[in-house]
Amino acid sequence: MPDPAGHFGPFGGRYVAETLMSALIELEKAYRAAWRDRAFHRELDGLLENYAGRPTPLYFAERLTKKAGGARIHIKREDLAHTGSHKINNTLGQGLLARRMGKRRVIAETGAGQHGVATATVCARMGIPCEIYMGEEDVRRQSHNVFRMRLLGARVNPVTSGSRTLKDAMNEALRDWVTNVRTTYYLIGSTAGPHPYPEMVRDFQSVIGREALRQFRKAEGKLPTAVVACVGGGSNAMGIFTSFLRYPRVRLYGVEAGGLGLSSGKHGATLSRGKVGVLHGSKSFLLQDSDGQILEAHSISAGLDYPGVGPEHAWLKETGRAKYHSVTDAQALAGFSLLSRYEGIQPALESSHAVAFAYRLAKTMRPSETVLVNLSGRGDKDMGILMEMQEGARDGD
């Protein structure tokens, strides 16, 4: 748990413009009150079950396990949740909170578009107007999700500043919030941002780990040897890690975007290669130059293309409780193919990073050991990019 001001060790906190401070304090109060309220949980649990399709299954990947020839691989199927990723868990929670707080408008930032779609979905369900900020580069890469958001009635605002990706979308959402703070709810999709977002988003996502722990025990009669999840801002990873933190023997692995390779400088491996700093309201590891200017991240997956990371991950890294590794674009694509061909499951490119690492890890482990992978989303949204890659490969022949 963070301290009362939202610090995880030296990380986290609230580094925002004064104009937002009272809104963050109000949000924290409303969140704490909601979390204590049985009626709130009843409504949220009902929606998670009947609307989002929870619990999501835990699936034993038999053929992938056989191919790896090592540890038994289990997959937590967040890709089967409504809207196609784990993002719905958090947007349902925060959507109910926004309504409870009487906010008349919701804004959000999105990278891959999964959080944008999940936000637009919940806003449609609640009848609250919503606007989504999305980097122009991501609008191009994830056009399928942009179309979905618009069909759901959301306004998508392409952001043309900076690297035109998730970081810039978040800048623009913060500018909107500071302007419309009295009426607007800012629905952050990751375990990043100022306190209480990292804690609140983790809490709403922790349903993943609670289910997985129960399901895994039922399937294997024991705890997993290792838990693997991809990390951009870090919400799906915190969602599954949280329930396992109290079992020190369970090894936790976060997988960052290695992009074109860590030595190329074009990656999103914030925890592996970043330095401590402050961006978007909290202190954590950041990709930055020696002057403290934020560097552009690079990843084939828009959802991991972010130069920051949630403060609790920074703390888990510092304390050594979780280990962070990276997987390159090419390895992630191989992970995608592997799961497609061997299990008939097409993961999102973000989740493909976790699959690639889990497969590599399982190979080095004994058959008596187990790996639990969080498959945070499905790959439908990435078909455009995958087609481009294949065409590119053909052109290169």
Binding site: R14, Y15, E18, S22, N180
Partner: protein, 264 residues
Amino acid sequence: MTAIDAAFRRLRSSGEKGLVVYLTAGDPTPAASLRYLRAAADAGADLIEVGVPFSDPTADGPMIEAASRRALSSGMNVAGALELVRSFRGTHATPIVLFGYYNPFYRYGWPFLCEDAREAGVDGFLVVDLPFEERGEVLPAIRKAGLDWIPLAAPTSGMERVLAVDREGSGFLYLISVTGVTGVRKALPPEVAAWTRKVAKATRLPVAVGFGISSPAMAAAATRFADAAVVGSACVKIVERNGRGPRGPAELSRFVRSLKKALR
């Protein structure tokens, strides 16, 4: 008594209102930026905020964001901004507040930064994304160097927070006029006057009102109950239009003179 205290004391005793000018360091180049700073001081700016550019200025509107980009591409950084202040100090005594975002300052390292800043001739710090609650690791270093920490208050702050920052801050209180980002506005909402009056009555520090003020008339109106007006984006706009051109500093000078005239 710091140079900023002295400046506000002098303003009060002469019965005039203060003018705080904001310019981004290194916009569009370090040398041109020095000429603009000198022009603003010569034309009567009582205090200058020198902005250290940041790649992700989330509290700024398009005007200052563009200035930050120009400054960054001219190679500006914290050390460069200190160098700029040092050069300015060779000719001018106008108090200088280093204005910026937390990360570049943090990267430089607060204890070193405060010492180097004092040595360069900086009088105070204003860190946009450092609220009262996170001051712990910064304020002791600023105090130790004998510099001022300029606190911010917003329309959303509420009196309790305003009084808390007023107790901890020094130099002056920067009162944000409207909820929003920096930028030129045609008018300020009518409730600004009442809010300013309430804050100025309750606080110990002199109050400077900023955000959106872009003309002499607006500056005069904003300072009806406050001690000073901050004009940023409207000055940066002149820099944007003229760049390194020879007429830029003269145009800024005319604008600053017109602002100051409205405050006497």
